[in-house]
């Protein structure tokens, strides 16, 4: 059963995400037509925010893995790095894509090159893409791992910058609706419930995704080791 944990996590996460989508599109109340240019498009928020949350978890794992490899030469750390980069790319693309759809409907433009939040998050996603594609283009080795884990470490600077961006420079991206620091909060309870289900589902899904990714990387390493043995190397 323990060996099936990742698949179970993925399954539960997937069902949860689908439920979030259903509830977000059909059950959650509409927002005020006075507050938004395109109130219907706001429902994408139930996908966008949990995906961004999961992306931050993945980037945290990427940073931890990069640090473990870079400072401790831990093979487990490298597997975390690979899993974090892949999960960060998946969730980052989900967030950017959904954000662009909402931006096109609400602002009339899918992207704004002068908005700090959009750009720093976009860069994090590009960093994950760079790490995933770059790793596939290179033979595995300490040189490859050192270089990419260095980028993983430096790239993490963007995470706190992305988090505080809308608190410091609110150019186009809306400010925080949760944990904004004000006493009331601006979400209705039913909206918050759907959002909570979404965040939990994405978290479970991304954990399952990373566990499977780590397992695949481990198998790749075993295969390479076996091939080296056949070649007569050490």
């Amino acid at each position: 059963m323990r060996r099936r944990f990742p698949e179970v996590f993925l399954g539960i996460g997937f069902v949860g995400i689908m439920s979030t989508l259903f509830l977000g599109l059909n059950w959650a109340p509409s927002v005020s037509i006075n507050a938004f240019e395109s109130p219907a498009a706001q429902r994408i928020f139930y996908w966008h925010v949990p995906a961004a949350w999961a992306a931050f978890i993945a980037f945290g794992v990427l940073f931890t893995g990069s640090a473990l490899w870079f400072f401790k030469r831990s093979p487990f750390g490298w597997r975390l790095h690979v899993a974090g980069a892949e999960a960060g790319l998946a969730c980052g693309l989900m967030t950017v894509w959904s954000g662009c759809v909402w931006g096109a409907a609400e602002w009339g433009t899918p992207w704004d090159w002068t908005d700090v939040r959009l750009n720093t998050f976009g860069l994090l996603t590009l960093l994950a893409l760079f790490l995933v594609l770059g790793r596939q283009s290179q033979p595995d080795g300490v040189e490859t791992r050192d270089t990419f884990s260095t980028f993983g470490l430096y790239g993490f600077v963007l995470v706190p910058l992305t988090y505080i961006a809308t608190r410091i420079w609110q150019i186009r991206h809306p400010g925080p609706v949760i944990g904004a620091g004000d006493d009331g909060g601006s979400l209705q309870s039913s909206m918050a419930l759907v959002l909570l289900i979404g965040a939990l589902s994405f978290t479970i899904f991304i954990i399952g995704h990373m566990m499977i990714s780590m397992r695949i990387t481990h198998l790749e390493q075993r295969l390479e080791h076996a091939q080296k043995k056949l070649d007569g190397g050490n």
């Binding site: 750009n119 590009l126 960093l127 760079f130 033979p139 080795g141 040189e143 270089t147 050490n234």
Partner: protein, 422 residues
């Protein structure tokens, strides 16, 4: 002085560390990994004045790895390397320039095809803080008639001779003992050049210089004082020969990396070919599809500054050039700052922005032109930093480094906003 240890490695004798003058090269308990394999671990080597250590052994044993580690080109997993008693690299990531110049010949030459033979060897002399008449040396290796030719026009064997001379020069110039690292120096040399090389090694050894040479060649192995197969070592005596008479005259050098980068650019025109043309294409494309009269000033300023930005995104042309035959690695072994296109950025940036402001704003605007020079300089610097970060990879050209360049768009957009207010 060199004592076999229990594991068959050779260890540094205590006496040599305390009472003798510092060795020219000390490898202390080093471990180096390449790919996922450990090439060697717990390796010790001490090289003193008048030593000629020839590393031999089967392919993949780690001979070139030793040479490149000594030249600070590979990071150490464990241990440290010292030149003349001063640390040059260790496993903690410390990396310092060797206080004394040393000679280095890489297996893949490390030469830039657009340099002339004379210019390249003069630069090697300058790195040692010396100058000399190169003609007798070139004549001895059969290269005198090729003195003013570009290295790219030479045959493979002739280029190898230049690479070997590059490695020998720091010792040939100096009266003080120098370390010389040669990786497969005999490959591609004709009989006359090989005989000359062996004679030079003998004379330089007599003058007190020390060599670490990776080679299988029987003639090179014959001139060794110590034969090392990376597991065990044997000594052999060498007949006395006439010591080498140092050729160098001391010379004050400054801004060598900048001057060399500028010369690379002048001889290749890579700055215009890569960065200049990229910017002109951007300007041309914008002019072809957009009517400037119909746009507001902030967008027009964006167009003007798009040209230097695009030129910067094309990357430092000197870094691009130095990927040839690992020329960048050869430089990295000797200096902390690689040759760069220092003058290109401000000059090209000012010119392109001036041209853009005439095209889009109908008048030359010197303030925006200065900003354009800064945009190109800053962009080039960032791209150069990112590109140099990936040079250690096995396939640096295959990595998707340009994916990271959008990081520069936000600062550029903010600069455009500011410039539009001027």
């Amino acid at each position: 002085m060199v004592v076999p240890s229990e594991n068959g490695r050779f260890d540094v004798g205590l006496q040599s560390r305390t009472s003798m003058p510092a060795s020219l090269l000390s490898l202390v308990d080093i471990e180096v990994r390449r790919g996922m394999g450990v090439v060697f671990s717990g390796f010790n080597l001490e090289v003193d004045s008048k030593d000629v250590v020839v590393l031999h052994g089967e392919n993949g044993a780690g001979k070139s790895t030793v040479i490149e580690s000594c030249a600070r080109l590979l990071p150490l997993e464990r241990g440290s390397i010292l030149h003349h008693g001063s640390l040059v690299v260790d496993s903690e990531g410390r990396r310092s320039l060797a206080k004394q110049p040393f000679g280095l010949t890489l297996q893949s030459n490390g030469l830039l095809g657009d340099e002339t033979v004379e210019n390249h060897l003069s630069t090697v002399c300058s790195l040692s803080g010396m100058k000399t008449d190169l003609l007798p040396l070139l004549d001895a290796y059969g290269l005198a008639h090729r003195r003013y030719d570009r290295i790219g026009q030479l045959s493979g064997g002739q280029a190898r001779k230049v690479a070997v001379l590059t490695g020998l020069l720091p010792a040939m110039l100096s009266r003080e003992p120098r370390l010389v690292l040669l990786d497969e120096p005999a490959t591609g040399l004709d009989e006359r050049a090989l005989a000359r090389l062996i004679s030079d090694i003998g004379q330089l050894r007599e003058a007190g210089h020390a060599f670490v040479i990776a080679s299988h060649h029987p003639e090179i192995m014959k001139c060794a004082t110590r034969l090392h197969d990376l597991k065990s070592e044997t000594s052999q005596n060498q007949p006395e020969s006439q010591p080498w008479q140092a050729l160098g005259i001391e010379e004050n050098i400054s801004l060598l990396s900048t001057r060399t980068g500028h010369r690379y650019l002048r001889s290749t025109r890579a700055g215009l070919a890569r960065n200049g043309l990229t910017a002109l294409l951007v300007l041309g494309a914008l002019l072809a599809f957009i009517d400037p009269a119909s746009l507001e000033k902030s967008i027009l300023v964006g167009f003007v500054l798009a040209a230097p930005f695009a030129a910067g995104l094309a990357g430092d042309p000197v870094v691009y050039l130095m990927r040839e035959q690992r020329a960048g690695d050869w430089w990295r072994a000797h200096v902390n700052r690689l040759p760069a296109a220092d003058f290109l950025a401000p000059v090209l940036g000012f010119t392109l922005t001036g041209l853009g402001s005439i095209l889009f704003l109908d008048a030359f605007n010197w303030k925006i032109s200065v900003i354009g020079a800064g945009v190109l300089w800053a962009t080039l610097l960032c791209v150069r930093f990112i590109e140099l970060s990936t040079l250690r990879l096995a396939r640096p050209n295959a990595v998707f480094i340009r994916l990271l360049l959008p990081i520069l768009i936000l600062p550029w957009a903010l600069v455009v906003e500011y410039a539009a207010t001027l």
